[in-house]
């Protein structure tokens, strides 16, 4: 996949306001297929809102947003559901579904209303559970799992949806470092081996630096900068956007760029 291909998402002059507060303003953005995008920015900078716009759970109040060359609003919900999957940060489930039932829900847009899942559907569910290493949990109730286990189930649910675009809203924020790195590796592999596109809001800048191809930096509802990781993640940008002093250690063939914060 190359970045010269037609854009997957294109936003021009995008604005979104929530009760008279401008949450996003003048967003011009073009996202290419087959890339891992990291979305970074301080709390309240509009990251979640931007992801909501891309998944069509909210719509722009002015400006244009197109997906694969067609306005996003023209797509039926079912059409988008087989193309874009979301992994939310918050997940509360009050009902006792089993892990396997929950992962199977990812196949919902692919299964007609009164039909049973096909062998292919069940195969994708198995694959997704294997990738997330939750097969031993298959008969456990979702309400009995720990926060980290639940989040792996939610990621598996999105993987089973088998979409070309995966949107993650701080999907690893509640996970320990081991599972965080594991999930990021899985997602990195989806982009590298299968040419899928991932857009992930990430708080941990080192994580973004290590796994993303491109980063989009939001500040106060505007795009501050967007581009390849090495170009964008500089100590100057971190100081300007996050008001934190940091030293960025350049990437080597074996190591991604590393950010060391000055803690004072």
């Amino acid at each position: 996949m190359n970045t010269l291909a037609a854009p997957l998402f294109a936003i021009s002059k995008g604005c979104f306001a929530y009760r008279a507060n401008n949450v996003l303003q003048d967003i011009d953005l073009s996202l290419a297929p087959g890339q891992f995008y990291g979305l970074i920015g301080p709390n309240g900078s509009g990251k979640t809102t931007l992801l909501d716009l891309l998944t069509a759970t909210r719509s722009l109040q002015s400006g244009q947003l197109s997906f694969q060359g067609r306005p996003l609003v023209k797509y039926a919900k079912k059409e988008l559901a087989v193309r874009i999957a979301l992994v939310p940060q918050q997940f509360a489930m009050g009902f006792d579904f089993t892990v396997a039932e929950l992962v199977l829900m990812g196949r919902y847009p692919h299964i007609p209303r009164f039909s049973n899942p096909t062998a292919r559907d069940l195969e994708l569910v198995e694959e997704a559970m294997a990738v997330m290493q939750i097969q031993p949990l298959r008969h456990r109730l979702i309400t009995d799992l720990s926060g980290g286990e639940k989040q792996r189930v939610v990621v598996a649910r999105a993987l089973a949806q088998d979409t070309e675009v995966l949107v993650l809203d701080e999907a690893t924020a509640n996970l320990d470092i081991h599972h965080t790195i594991e999930i990021m590796h899985v997602i990195r592999k989806l982009v590298r081996d299968q040419g899928r596109t991932v857009i992930a809001a990430i708080h941990d800048l080192n994580l973004a630096a290590a796994f993303c191809d491109q980063v989009i930096v939001l500040k106060n509802g505007r795009i501050f900068k967007a581009g390849p990781v090495a170009e964008v993640l500089t100590s100057r940008l971190i100081a300007e956007v996050f008001q934190v002093e940091a030293v960025v250690q350049a990437a080597t063939p074996d190591h991604p760029p590393q950010i060391h914060y000055t803690l004072s």
């Binding site: 069509a56 988008l80 039932e101 209303r113 309400t143 949806q161």
Partner: protein, 343 residues
């Protein structure tokens, strides 16, 4: 779950049929189950009944007991299904149809119908009670929505809170109607406690016309309800029109509640306990849970009504009975659930 869903539903249907036949035979005048079947068979085919049977039996079965029993079954099924749907929409397994204030709205409308005579308006209560109950329920639902959703989103916490607020105002309204009713206050109080005394085929038809199609609509959206358990944002990205489905099902469940309340008065707790118990046994999949709730609710209310009618020395309002038995039982499950979640 080891049993197949069709098998579960078939057994529940059979169980309900047996319960209807047994209940029809019970009462002051005992009729053997076989004789009940004989009468039903003869009426269905339009042929005569054997000469050896007591000649009052067919009348007792067809005109007195069966309408009451069927009304109880349909109301029980309707309330249980409405409860299951409210719980699925509000994402709260402990929510109940009354938390949205819909029942209070229906009760307010129906009480108003009972005192219309005092205000000099004469309408047959056969029409005015269900009509005003329905209008009351829908007006309440509209008020709750307006209160809960100024920004167009329907969060479950605000919906429940708005429901409680509106229900509180309505219960004051019902109190005022009782004060106005003066001599008729006994009728209203008895009706508010819930009862199936004197139900006719007219009541059976009225409930069936609304509850059965409502049930079909709910079955159609059962799978979407499962997905909506993931939360609105995720459900939307899975292709569910969650706001639309929420509204359709809220109206549907409110309509069912209103019709049930207008026929039987307030029978609390069925809509809370039946879905809750069945969910513990069958799991949360609404495609099985919703039809199972219909049968479960029907069997429960029919049994409870038969106990008050045939066993107890004096007839107790059924709403009182269900709450007396069910309330403490629910507390027990609730407590167990709370303790289970902590460990």
């Amino acid at each position: 779950m080891t049993l197949k869903p069709p098998l579960i539903l078939m057994s529940l249907t059979l169980f309900l049929a047996v319960a209807i036949v047994l209940a029809t035979g019970m009462g002051f005048l005992a009729i053997a189950p076989l004789e009940v079947i004989q009468i039903l068979w003869a009426k269905a085919l339009g042929v005569g009944i054997g000469e050896d049977m007591n000649s009052t039996f067919p009348f007792v079965v067809m005109e007195v007991r069966l309408p009451r029993i069927l009304a109880a079954a349909i109301v029980g099924g309707g309330l249980a299904v409405a409860g299951a749907v409210f719980q699925a929409i509000l994402l709260n397994p402990l929510a109940d149809p009354y938390t949205l204030g819909v029942s209070s709205g229906a009760a307010f409308g129906a009480s108003l119908a009972l005192v219309l005579g005092i205000l000099g308006i004469t309408v047959s209560p056969l029409v005015s009670v269900p009509l005003l109950a329905f209008l009351g329920a829908m007006a309440t639902l509209a008020a709750v929505f307006a209160l809960a959703a100024p920004d167009g989103r329907l969060s479950s916490n605000t919906l429940i809170l708005s429901g409680v607020i509106v229900a509180a105002i309505l219960s004051a309204g019902i109190g005022f109607i009782k004060y106005l009713a003066d001599e008729q206050v006994g009728v209203i109080i008895f009706w508010l406690m819930g009862s199936f005394v004197g139900k006719t085929w007219h009541d059976v038809a009225l409930t069936a016309i609304f509850v059965l199609p409502g049930l079909l609509v709910m079955l159609y959206f059962a799978r979407d309800l499962n997905i909506m358990a993931l939360g609105g944002r995720t459900a939307d990205t899975l292709g569910v029109e969650s706001r639309r489905v929420k509204k359709i099902l809220l109206v549907c469940a409110s309509l069912m509640t209103a019709i049930c309340v207008s026929v039987s008065g307030i029978i609390g707790f069925v809509g809370l306990i039946v879905p809750h118990l069945l969910r513990l046994v069958l799991g949360p999949d609404n495609r099985l849970l919703i039809p199972a709730c219909f049968f479960g609710g029907a069997i429960l209310l029919l049994t409870a009504d038969t106990i008050t009618r045939a066993w107890l020395p004096t007839e107790l309002p059924i709403g009182v009975l269900t709450s007396l038995i069910g309330g403490p039982f629910f507390c027990y499950i609730f407590r167990k659930k709370q303790l289970g979640q902590r460990t």
